[in-house]
């Protein structure tokens, strides 16, 4: 029988994960970058515990954002180059859903590892356990938002040859609210206050990106693939 929308989502997601698993270096790059940046700060700066603790939310979030930016370039590029996107475009399925599946696959292999290693790195910054919990939660809500926002830029620049810097300039400003709210939530938790405010706002941004980014990226992909 014909593929339902859920089936389509699952088939595309599964295929993208399979392709990613065959290319380990692509998966490892963002998380290695994240670990390197975060691990280098204490070496170069004053290693006093209270100083590092105050620095941690900002450093971890900036590194997460840069790692996300670094990986976005490849989101649709390969599909456009090898003709897969032409096939997906001529299918009788909503393209936004295909984009959403591809973005989720991308986040699972580039964003999720960052979220997983972040608490371990946070320990080296002397973060207390409850602040680590909030950091984890803010990254878990924030990094999918980064991937979704980035998918619009990646779709717009997928047809260009040298698009790395352009992509960063384009989607960087869109990502700033996520950076500010995520770092702020962790910071508030660090000072012992209630961080639900910024977390709710992060959640709202995720909902907004989840509903608006895939159709926008779908329109952009049609232009890029032309």
């Amino acid at each position: 029988m014909n593929l339902g929308l859920g089936g389509l989502f699952w088939v595309v997601l599964q295929r993208d994960l399979m392709v990613a698993m065959r290319r380990w270096s692509d998966i490892c790059n963002p998380v290695i970058f994240f670990v390197l940046v975060v691990a280098l700060f204490p070496l170069a700066l004053n290693p006093r515990a209270e100083f590092l603790r105050a620095l941690a939310p900002g450093v971890l979030w900036i590194a997460a954002l840069l790692a996300a930016l670094l990986s976005l370039n490849q989101l649709f590029r390969a599909d456009i180059e090898d003709g897969t996107m032409e096939q997906l475009l001529t299918l009788p399925y909503p393209l936004g859903l295909v984009i959403l599946a591809k973005t989720l696959a991308h986040w699972l292999v580039t964003g999720l590892p960052v979220v997983v290693v972040a608490p371990m790195l946070a320990i080296t910054y002397h973060l207390p356990a409850d602040a680590i919990g909030i950091l984890l939660l803010s990254l878990l809500i924030g990094t999918p938002t980064l991937s979704l926002l980035g998918s619009i830029g990646a779709a717009l620049t997928a047809g260009l040859r040298q698009s790395g810097v352009l992509l960063a300039l384009m989607v960087g400003p869109l990502m700033l609210p996520v950076l500010m709210l995520g770092a702020r939530a962790t910071d508030i938790a660090l000072s012992g206050d209630d961080p639900t405010g910024p977390l709710y706002l992060l959640g709202a941004l995720l909902a907004l990106a989840l509903s608006l980014a895939p159709p926008a990226a779908a329109m952009a992909i049609r232009i890029s693939a032309d």
Binding site: N2, L3, E86, Q87, T90, A225, D226
Partner: protein
């Protein structure tokens, strides 16, 4: 020997429970009217019109750079023309017919194979997208001469083998409208025969094909219209 008809019928029986041969519910005429497209200062085509009836083929010919591929992309809906429209039976070409099958199968220069996946994995993806039963993929691979490289990563396939895999994808789609861009590229003589048999079978079951071709294609008795694209302006 596996015939393409068998492959088609299997798909239809498994998919819809419809009797063999009952492939298209309605006769669909493909028409393009007044198509105009500019690329920069170059006019690729101006007020171009064509039509292809079910069971017939439209051959697009013309020198390099005369806009053949672009025209095919316009028909596929991948490129928007400045003016004019492509219609299926008078209505804008939809991507799904009323029985849910895909309307068109586009086979461009790029073969849409992921280099890191095996041939079988690549084809399984498209089989699942178009509702082709994955357990008959073996027969399809045999028919397209790809059994030996079923488990090889697509990156080691030769250009001709990749093209055969792309044809297998077209066969799986079950679409009534095939859009083939220079399908004979990189094929050996057996590959050409495979392509021609596949096309003849498709046209005999009242499918439609639009083919960009430089060389002659033997389409048997199927009515063939030739669209000559302009000498480059």
């Amino acid at each position: 020997m596996i015939t393409f008809n068998n492959l088609f019928q299997k798909r239809i029986l498994v998919q819809d429970g419809a009797p063999p041969g009952w492939r298209f519910r309605e006769v669909e005429l493909l028409t393009g009217t007044g198509l105009t497209l500019w690329r920069g200062a170059n006019c690729l085509f101006d007020k171009l019109s064509f039509s292809a009836a079910p069971g017939g083929a439209l051959l697009i010919r013309g020198p390099n750079g005369s806009g053949k591929t672009t025209l095919l992309r316009v028909i596929a809906g991948l490129t928007l023309p400045e003016e004019g429209e492509v219609h299926g039976n008078g209505a804008p070409l939809s991507r799904r017919d009323e029985s849910g099958r895909h309307v068109m199968a586009y086979c461009g220069h790029a073969t849409a194979l992921k280099p890191d996946l095996t041939t079988l994995e690549n084809l399984r993806f498209f089989a699942r997208l178009s509702g082709y039963p994955t357990d008959s993929l073996g027969e399809l691979l045999a028919a397209s001469g790809l059994v030996a490289c079923a488990d090889l990563p697509a990156r080691v396939l030769s250009a001709g083998q990749k093209r055969r895999a792309a044809f297998a994808r077209v066969l799986m789609s079950g679409a009534r409208l095939w859009l083939l861009d220079e399908p004979q590229t990189n094929l050996d003589s057996a590959g050409r025969q495979f392509l021609e048999r596949m096309l003849q079978e498709h046209l005999a079951t009242s499918g439609t094909a639009v083919i960009v071709a430089h060389q002659a294609v033997d389409l048997g008795s199927a009515p063939t219209a030739v669209l000559q694209m302009g000498e480059t302006a």
